[in-house]
Homo-oligomer: 440 residues x 2
């Protein structure tokens, strides 16, 4: 483990693979040609390492972003004949507006409670802007995920809540910490029996501006979104096994998700996670080591808007869950890791001491139990009792960029991603070679 740790922190393997995925292939939304190409490329890279590679089929949602425009066309004090551009982006899964756009007054609310107070009279026929503020102070103190969790409720549930009161469209303040006119996409939800209305995220700045204008007069927007939901498309998880020398049937999964949102390049979400998972067998091979249990690399498909890849794997392995010794996933970027999270019996923490001792060399020795799970794709395995793990990151910048156009390769620091490789590799190898099974 110590040799792996030392080799990993010097390696540029994960950095370069992230660069190829994000710069050369680019964004990889499920169903896109880039997603398809990334499947082939990752499989080829794993074959080059000499692993047993298979593509596990899954049908994925195929949502295609179209045109997206917003402009304010009426407000207090406007110069005659002018408009103000609204920076916005369609939320994933949104239906389209009419092709020529829809025009409506905006009603600004800060949260679900204020929406409910206004009631149907004030909402029907309007476009609701949920101006819920992303908590940058919470983020700055290291709890970016918690800040995101609060804000993302509006992205996912805003359209349903607004439509129940007769709104014709929904805008949400971007669920992220950036203040650079940057818009944040991501999945939105619809519910059976509730009218589907189009949904978009506006930038922090546009939310602030609209709220200012709405405080003194009527604000009207022309909103044009032309996304399409096509038929489900065939796609794949990429699965590659580095066979165990003593217990080949028992597997330790190392994984990230290959699909991404389409606005940026899918570098930190989650090209880096895939590349870090790729680096685990690469580093083990590089040192000529052999794990006792099988290390199974998985590049999951469709984490962002469906989870079809992880569902397909869980379904296939339903009767083989007992042989899944542990599952690792990296899906929160590639910044400096502090250690790792786990989900499972608290008493398993005692087994990690030798692993943490090795990771102490790079300041990544912290271990923390996370009750609710540590990754979306390994979630179905976690729920079935498989001990689950994820790197524990500094989260101060991740939620400024993921799901935005600024999720690009430059956000990855070569030294930091090497540190993440090290955490994943040492942890995976350590688990694969544990003498005793983990309590579960």
């Amino acid at each position: 483990m110590q040799r792996l740790q030392q080799a990993a922190v010097k390696s540029d393997y994960a950095y370069k693979q992230t660069g190829y995925l994000s710069n050369n292939i680019g964004a990889r939304l499920s169903g896109s040609p880039q997603a398809e190409r990334s499947v082939q490329w990752v499989a080829e890279q794993m074959r080059k390492l000499g692993l047993d590679v298979r593509l596990q089929p899954c049908m994925v949602p195929h949502w295609v972003r179209g045109e997206e425009h917003g402009e304010l066309i009426e407000w207090d004090g406007m110069a005659p004949g002018t408009t103000q551009k609204v920076f916005l982006t369609a939320l994933g899964g949104s239906i389209a507006t009419p092709a020529e756009g829809m025009t409506a007054e905006i009603v600004v609310v800060k949260d679900f409670d204020e929406l409910a107070c206004l009631g149907r009279d004030k909402i029907a026929g309007k476009i609701v802007l949920f101006n819920f503020k992303f908590d940058r102070e919470l983020q700055a103190s290291g709890f970016g995920g918690a800040a995101y969790g609060q804000a993302v409720q509006y992205r996912f549930g805003g359209a349903m809540a607004a439509a129940r009161l007769g709104a014709v469209g929904v805008l949400v303040r971007s669920a992220g910490g950036s203040q650079n006119r940057l818009v944040h996409t991501g999945s939105m939800g619809y519910a059976d029996g509730v009218t589907k209305i189009p949904g978009a995220a506006v930038s922090y700045e546009d939310a602030e501006k609209i709220a200012w204008l709405a405080a003194t007069g009527k604000v009207k927007i022309k909103l044009t979104l032309t996304p399409q939901t096509l038929h489900d498309a065939p796609s794949f998880n990429v699965i590659a096994d580095l066979k165990g020398s003593e217990k080949p049937d028992e597997v330790v999964i190392v994984s990230g998700h290959l699909d991404s949102w389409d606005l940026g390049s899918g570098a930190i979400d989650d090209g880096a996670g895939v590349a870090v998972a790729m680096s685990v067998p690469a580093l083990i091979k590089q040192l000529g080591l052999k794990p006792k249990r099988t290390i199974r690399f998985i590049a999951w498909m469709n984490e962002e808007n469906g989870g079809r890849g992880s569902a397909a794997y869980a379904a296939e392995q339903e009767k083989n869950i007992g042989n899944h010794f542990a599952a690792l996933e990296s899906d929160l970027g590639a910044s400096h890791p502090l250690g790792f999270y786990f989900t499972g019996k608290p008493e398993m923490a005692a087994f990690f001491a030798p692993i943490s001792k090795v990771l102490l060399a790079q300041g990544a020795a912290q271990v923390q139990l996370q009750a609710g799970g540590v990754g979306a794709d390994i979630g179905p395995l976690t729920q079935r009792g498989v001990p689950s793990f994820a790197p524990w990151f500094n989260q101060q910048s991740y939620f400024n960029y993921h799901h935005t156009a600024a999720d690009t390769f430059d956000k990855v620091d070569p030294r930091e991603i090497a540190e993440v490789s090290s955490v994943m590799t040492v942890l995976a190898f350590g688990l694969a070679n544990l003498e005793q099974p983990l309590p579960r």
Copy 2:
């Protein structure tokens, strides 16, 4: 002065006026309807204060941004049939590409020297990307203006240098510190006898991506820019005098520029400067004070792409320069002021002690001689010997936002802009009431 200082730091006048200019009127590019409306609105606000208001005519360039699109259409590793969107914006004054766009290979250089080394053979027929890095470390240490000065040479001079070697277009890395896929516009230059080629700024991220891709293969872009340069348009400086009680012919100018670039809302560049200048007579009137010399408010037109307003004023006042006791301008945002800069005879610093003593209460007592001048619009007066002044700001964020879509009202902090109002008001009133003339 002390009463003014105390009233200013509690005042929300400048904050609210900046909000109206940037949110309700919006961006104010020279020649636009918003610029025209802002002239009328500022004049009206000054009349409400009881000042003598006049509009000083000037003809301004009328450049109109059109469509602007960029996409990579060829690079190593691309998934068949895909493109990658390039975030870019036309530089101010750029000519258009053909309406259907131009397609060319990109040559990446880091600076003018590297361009010269490559020579005509490697440049002719290509689009040059100047990938000169904005120095964020220099910015972080308080010298944002110096970092900007280095980078902006490429924005202004890049097209000329590239065209001399036969390039068909030019891209420059955005001259700013943001790393949020934000593009920075601003004036570009053409030279007589050198072919005019279209110019655009790409985001930091796109510059990095293109440089990565160009390092391993050919990169082609399709670039579409459709700006138009229309006939010069009539516009105005807004000039409003608060008459001096003892020496009404001697004037102290307080000013900011009313025009802005068109991508954002012109909040920090320079709605805030105009609003702060407006606050000087507003605060003096509020306290019922009377300056001995005339305090002249000026909202300059066309600082960004021509300087026609300041030229018109300087020409009109050519024979009256001696009566210009001092000129103040605020054009670097509205963050916490540390004190003020001045240009003029070093020995005049001794006259400022009573002013700085009052500003010490808010931590703005620093005074520094700046040899080259302290503001573009008052520059012609400075050159003619008029003692010139500007607030001295913390410059750590200004150069992330100005000239971008993120130059919006939310970047203005109510407490900080009140501090700037205080510096301008105390300084202007103190100068207007000085017993002796400043050495010049």
